[in-house]
């Protein structure tokens, strides 16, 4: 993949992802965090496209941006009065956290770059995989698929139950 344009676009999205993720983590304002998380998700979705997983990318956008992020924003709004300016969230363990952050990232990178065992396959995945996903979902992964759907249903019902305001009997 030595197409320079390709490379540049990759780095662009990589930068967006990393920077927005950093902003999510380091800003004190919860609202800012939430909005910058939006960019992170988009960036990640873009990276998925680079990884030939266009369907996953679309799913990422639909689920994360359309679902999870909205949920998070609702959460923020429920738990903070939005009109307050000082929606600062406190931090703790900053020093050990930073150290660990550096340590983990360093260690992982060290591992990645010193490992010589990454032997990319001859046949890398090319083109769209939507059809293959559909095929696999309905054949090999039909049981996990069904289980996941049931799990999702149960989780949604459970969540709705948990978050209800006026519980009967209380």
């Amino acid at each position: 993949m030595s197409n320079p344009t390709y490379t540049v676009i990759f780095y662009l999205f990589a930068a967006i992802t990393v920077c927005s993720a950093a902003f999510v983590v380091f800003t004190r304002n919860v609202i800012y965090s939430a909005f910058s998380l939006l960019f992170t998700f988009f960036g990640v979705a873009a990276l998925y496209v680079f990884l030939s997983a266009d369907f996953i990318a679309v799913t990422q956008v639909v689920v994360y941006v359309g679902g999870i992020l909205v949920l998070l924003l609702f959460g923020v709004m429920f738990t903070n009065s939005i009109m307050q300016t000082g929606q600062k969230s406190e931090v703790t363990h900053v020093v050990p956290g930073t150290l660990l952050l550096a340590g983990i990232i360093g260690a992982l990178l060290y591992t990645f770059y010193t490992t010589h065992g990454w032997m990319p396959s001859e046949t890398t995945m090319q083109g769209s995989i939507v059809e293959r996903i559909g095929f696999e979902t309905m054949s090999r992964y039909v049981l996990p698929f069904e289980m996941v759907s049931i799990l999702l249903l149960a989780a949604l019902i459970g969540a709705a139950f948990l978050a209800r305001f006026d519980k009967p009997g209380k």
């Binding site: 983590v25 990884l51 609702f74 363990h93 995945m125 995989i129 992964y141 969540a159």
Partner: protein, 105 residues
């Protein structure tokens, strides 16, 4: 230099590692439960990137499928987690995870 111009596995892994690190940092240091949840989402995304990257460079479908399931489960997890957070807020009038330590002893 070729290392930088040819986008290979390690690039994705590096991004994934950074996202993981940020996610962990958020989980560890932030007091607001919502932000902690955001950190968790970052970690999950990092994992997904890994899955897809290995899938791409290995040619199989396993990573893709797993990523798909991870997204679904992340959705479920987010829903549940937020419900819990809202309950905690109703109970403690706060979402500060460090102040919620009634399980201590």
């Amino acid at each position: 230099m070729e290392q930088f111009t040819t986008i290979g596995l390690n690039h994705y892994l590096t991004i994934s590692a950074i996202l993981l690190g940020f996610g962990l940092f958020a989980v560890m240091t932030r007091k607001n439960a919502i932000v902690v949840l955001m950190g968790v989402e970052l970690i999950l995304n990092a994992a997904n990137i890994n899955f897809l990257a290995f899938s791409k460079f290995n040619g199989g479908m396993e990573g893709v499928m797993f990523a798909l399931f991870v997204i679904v489960i992340a959705a479920a997890e987010a829903a549940i987690a937020l419900a819990i957070v809202i309950n905690i807020f109703k109970l403690f009038k706060s979402v500060d995870v460090s102040s919620i330590d009634s399980m201590k002893e």
